[in-house]
Amino acid sequence: MFLKDESFELGCIPMALKEYVLKRLVYSVILIFAALTVNFLIFAMMPGDPLRQYMARVELHTNEEQYEMMREQLGLNKPLHLRYLDYLVKMLTWNFGNGMIGGGAPVTEQIMNRLPNTLILMGFAAVLSIIAGIFIGVLVAYKRGGLFDTLAVTGSLVTYSVPIFFIGWLMMFFFAVQLHWFPLGGIAPRTWGRTPPTNAIEVLIGRISHLVLPTITLFLFSVGGWILLSRACVLETITEDYVVTARAKGLKERTVLYKHVLKNASLPLITSVAMTFGFLISGAIITETLFDYNGMGLLIWDAIRGGAAPDLPVLQAIFYVIALAVIVANFIADLLYGVIDPRIKYG
């Protein structure tokens, strides 16, 4: 009975690895289609005719003819189910078309321009906070009840609840305004203009100096969550009977911790890590807005608020790509589960 419950929590019934992978794959594909459908519905149901709003603001004098032409161009005059099919084909072939705002640049180009910036920023912050968070979390769980534990937990709880723009402003205040160590915002020094220097070291220093503050902000924002999560996971397993048995066998504390506790405690962590990496490409709207960092978050924000009306093609594409990334990351996490958790492999 106990085993059955556990397996329910993991979302699968014990079975052979191959079957397990296949089931996860089918499930992921279904999820992708569900996400695609929701993504279509949200924007198709978008009230207030964004196209008309957009044209009213941009073209100033919209005549019906132009409006109809634009509708036809965007395929908005077709019945809903045909539009859905068009949309599916567009999304699955990665042919996202052009955006409405900012001269209607191709969506793929807009995304590719911003994606590297975001991946660098978010990637650095995620890797740092995951490593530091898990390290501190395990340490704290192992020496639970001590002063360091109390401090780390309280500190994590507090940073966990601080709004990220506050952390960002504090960083700006100390390191940009008071100490002048790093610039206030942007992605590269303003003096570069449109002609960045050719010297590689200079480019590197210029870019990194603009990267430091947003990275620290994101790091501080997320590290508390990782500390709490890994601490909870370790505490969950450290009290299990088999750990007591391992200790009773006379194993070294270190062996018990790394071989017996961490392996089982890592299972829930894997899902969270996978989700984090999946969401990397969505960028950080608030941090990027605050630091004027030209990444995906700012692209999303500009697409929503930058123009007269939400830039639907851009948003649809971004949402799809993000959902896809998260689902793929989840799938990989499930595969890892299969490799790590013997209950799945030999079930």
């Binding site: 419950d5 999820l31 949200i42 505490l235």
Partner: protein, 645 residues
């Protein structure tokens, strides 16, 4: 059957036991104390906050016939307690204004237009892009300095290619009568020299002059000034105060003045000036004056004055003046009032033509009250003709706005028509954060509980559907989706209200809890006591409500406490991005107002820290309080954690 009384006493006993345990958790007690504190703030906000959170007006109902009552303070005031801080600098100080030029051709002549830039954000080298970014809407044909210069300023040109050039400023560029202006209005020498100078530059630079900056360095006198109300009893409600506060003299003729207790605007007290000409008399002049001391070394930021008058008989000339001891009086307004049955209400702003004639600029308060000393605030009535004439005077007041106000200063009214008292906005903001946080958490938890119970107990296809929907919701990017939905809801309901945010937060706040409830129900339903209930013939609803629910309830409390902070921070973040209700004072909105105010981040973080940091800290502290509470609850109510100790 237990009676109600024993049930209650049992509940009280259980609560006492729980509280005894909870009290031991320092984190939990801290959390509860903070939440109680903020709840008190929220409930008693109208009593604690001295001003309205949106568009606060001073004495809004006391100036009748008034569509725009006075503001409570000037924009961007510092906290009033700055005067107790010895390190806040006073006395002579250096100021630096930066202007950006644009040159347009108008009727064959080049015309320079100057935009003021925020100095602190500029680096020494100013590329063209930066200018384009900073190009504001405010344009002026002359460089108007932001403060009253006490000595002739120094002007430096920063050319687009980065070179600097100090230029000699001829004495006539700087008008001593008008220390606030560099260069003067059309027809005055300063302005012409500036124009010819710019024209000379444009011949050398051509198009490039458009991106040239002028850095003006000057000395001014800095002080901490407070709001002053020259006439506290401006409604003339009692004769006694009137006699004490005011002086009056008849300069020529036979006009006289007395206190009238019934003919005022609201049939209360007012001043009655009567001109009852003797034979051969055809002019009389009378002055009503009040002395006051202006104690500050810096002129006020602005002023607001008001007078209500009613005339019976012939037209009367009224002039309101301010006079420094030993200097000429300066007229603030001249009114020619004709006979009318009702009171005429007149508000006087610094933009009045009469004042501008005297000062040649748009900042007359710097001319009227240039330095500390004793002043006289007066109204002069001139009667002509041979007919009996009476003037009734009421609601006569003048407000001088200083640069400090309230406990936390004021904002710059970027999104409203009146500057707000930041402290009041902060107190009222508690209401929004608590309401949104608690309601969104309660709704999300209730929905999560319901779906979790159903999924776990019913199982099968229902379970599968609910859990797959939850999975789907978890893979969508949360914040972008929130923003999209709020924008959509804004179009549907045509307003952004607090409820839109609550709905969206609820919609995406149930998945995690539904999952935990489901897994708990799954293990519960295999327990012997449920089987026993089933065997006894209990229905599904009965089992869920009587046997499953009570066992899940510990989890409900914990989830409630830990999901409130998420809702609070998300609401603040959405408002921070400008998606909140514009008519509602919330903490996030306060910070959004800062961002759209045009005040640079550097100045905001240093000079106007009281605008940013209190709201940020409030959000963080309130959210942390709930988290601490939830954590303490978790330690007490979660049996697995309890075992571990």
């Amino acid at each position: 059957m237990a009676t109600r009384k024993t049930k209650i006493s049992y509940a009280v006993k259980r609560f006492k036991g729980f509280w005894n345990q909870f009290r031991k958790s320092k984190r939990g007690v801290t959390g509860v104390a903070i939440v109680v504190f903020f709840t008190i703030l929220a409930v008693f906000a109208p009593l604690i906050a001295p001003y309205a959170p949106i568009d606060p007006k001073k004495d809004a109902d006391k100036y009748p016939g008034q569509t725009t009552p006075p503001r409570i303070a000037e924009r961007l005031c510092s906290p009033v307690w700055y005067k107790y801080l010895p390190w806040i600098p006073r006395g002579p100080a250096q100021a630096e204004d930066l202007f950006w030029t644009n040159v347009t051709e108008l009727g064959g002549q080049l015309l320079a237009v100057f935009d003021r830039l925020e100095v602190t954000d500029m680096e020494d080298y100013i590329p063209k892009d930066t200018f384009d970014e900073y190009r504001g809407n405010a344009t002026d044909h002359y460089m108007r300095l932001s403060r009253a210069a006490t000595k002739p300023p120094q002007v430096e040109i920063i050319f687009p290619n980065g070179t600097l050039k100090q230029i000699e400023t001829p004495e006539d560029w700087w008008s001593s009568r008008n220390p606030a202006t560099l260069g003067d209005t059309i027809g005055k020498p300063g302005y012409l020299s500036m124009r010819s100078f710019v024209r000379g530059l444009s011949e050398d630079l051509g198009e490039d002059l458009i991106y040239t900056a002028f850095r003006v360095k000057y000395e001014y006198s800095r002080d901490i000034t407070e709001n002053m109300e020259l006439v506290p009893d401006f409604q003339f409600s009692s004769n006694q105060t009137f006699q004490q506060e005011w002086d009056w003299t008849t300069l020529t003729g036979s006009a006289h003045l007395r206190y009238n207790s019934v003919k005022g605007v609201n049939n209360d007290g007012c001043i009655e000036i009567t001109y009852n000409p003797n034979v051969d008399e055809n002019e009389s002049k009378i002055v009503l004056s009040k002395r006051f001391e202006y104690p500050y070394w810096e002129p006020p930021q602005s002023f607001w004055a008001h007078v209500s008058t009613r005339v019976q008989g012939k037209p009367v000339n009224l002039t309101i003046t301010i006079q420094k001891d030993g200097e000429q009086p300066i007229a603030i307004i001249k009114l020619l009032r004709e006979a009318s049955p009702n009171y005429h209400h007149r508000t006087i702003y610094p933009t009045e033509q009469v004042v501008r004639d005297v000062s040649h600029s748009l900042s007359p308060e710097k001319i009227i009250l240039p330095s500390p000393g004793n002043y006289t605030f007066a109204i002069e009535a001139v009667f002509t003709g041979e007919e009996k004439t009476s003037v009734y005077l009421d609601d006569f007041n003048m407000l001088l706005y200083g640069n400090t106000f309230g406990l936390l200063g004021t904002d710059n009214a970027a999104s409203s028509s009146y500057p707000r008292d930041i402290f009041s906005t902060l107190v009222y903001g508690t209401q929004v954060s608590l309401t949104v946080g608690v309601l969104a958490a309660v709704f999300g938890t209730v929905i999560g509980l319901f779906l979790g119970l159903v999924a776990g107990y019913v199982g099968g296809v229902t379970d599968e559907i609910i859990m797959r929907v939850a999975d789907l919701f978890l893979v969508l990017p949360t914040l972008p989706l929130f923003i999209i939905l709020i924008v959509a809801l804004k179009v549907v309901s045509n307003t952004v209200s607090m409820w839109n945010i609550i709905i969206v937060l609820t919609l995406f706040g149930w998945m995690g809890f539904a999952r935990s409830v489901r897994s708990m129900v799954l293990s519960l339903r295999e327990r012997p006591f449920i089987e026993a209930a089933k065997a006894a013939g209990a229905g599904k609803f009965y089992i869920i409500s009587r046997h499953v629910l009570p066992n899940v309830f510990a989890l409900v409390y914990i989830t409630l406490a830990t999901s409130v902070p998420g809702a609070i921070v998300t609401e603040a973040s959405l408002s921070w991005l400008g998606l909140g209700d514009p008519r509602l004072a919330s903490w996030g909105k306060l910070l959004y107002d800062f961002q759209i105010s045009g005040v640079t981040v550097t100045r905001g973080l240093t000079e106007y820290w009281f605008w940013i940091f209190p709201a940020c800290i409030s959000i963080a502290v309130l959210a942390a309080a709930f988290i601490l509470m939830g954590y303490a609850l978790d330690e007490i109510l979660n049996p697995r954690l309890r075992m571990r100790r």
